[in-house]
Subunit: 115 residues, 2 copies
DNA sequence: TTGACATATTATTATTTTATAATATGATAA
DNA sequence: TTATCATATTATAAAATAATAATATGTCAA
């Protein structure tokens, strides 16, 4: 059960050091809330698309197989959770990832699980 | 907040290498299921503790503030999802992380979000 | 064996999430 | 202005999850 091999094998860029459990205890509620936002296949895809840059709701609608209503609800929810920010430009509402850490996290998830 | 500003701010800052969206489309259900298991503060903590090595149910019970029943249910659930494996030793049932990728992921989460 | 401890299971209720439909608002172009 | 497109909101029903209590099972030591 040692993870030395893992640490050696995976770039230090990805996980430079180990964090104490007490730090985790303090933030586990916040972190688990964030992870819950990623725990739906379409929301995960939306965030994946948004790591490539801001997109309007209709662009996202073209990319994701999801109803207009649910897409808007998901975007609104993730904005309320401060994962996303949005800006209207004319008819279109552009959404973008608001928290850089989320971009990091999604990139790591892709690298670990989407091979 | 203009579109261009968002783009400049978000893209290509961090990620070491990028995975194609089509890979993500294929695995998003599996990945989001996994992330759902991490989307509860006590389950996240349980996994955090288990990254440090196998632990018996009662050891985990001493570490987490959670009822016996719920702890057992959470462990059973994560075992059914193949995140955990278990082995009985006498009176004690030892649980351990079954998927090395999960250890990686939790380490990354700690490094990004538990500072 | 019995009793005590460790863990699992079942049942149940409350809460949250998901999905869908219907309707509303806001912007633009004709 | 009105029609149309883009997006948001509301309502609601179904499904999943969380939390708790009660009970069952399995192991060991006396």
């Amino acid at each position: 059960m040692s993870n030395e091999k893992l640490v050696a094998k995976n770039s230090k860029a990805i996980h430079p050091r180990r964090v104490s459990i007490s730090k985790m205890e303090k933030s586990c509620q916040e972190v688990s809330d964030l992870l819950r936002s990623l725990s739906h296949p379409q929301r995960l895809m939306i965030l994946g698309y948004l790591t490539q840059g801001p997109k309007s709701v209709s662009e996202l609608g073209g990319l994701c197989d999801i109803s207009q209503s649910q897409l808007s609800q998901f975007l609104g929810r993730m904005k309320a959770e401060n994962l996303l920010k949005s800006e209207r430009q004319g008819k279109y509402q552009y959404y973008a990832i608001a928290d850089q850490r989320l971009i990091q996290l999604i990139a790591v998830i892709q690298n670990i699980f989407c091979r």
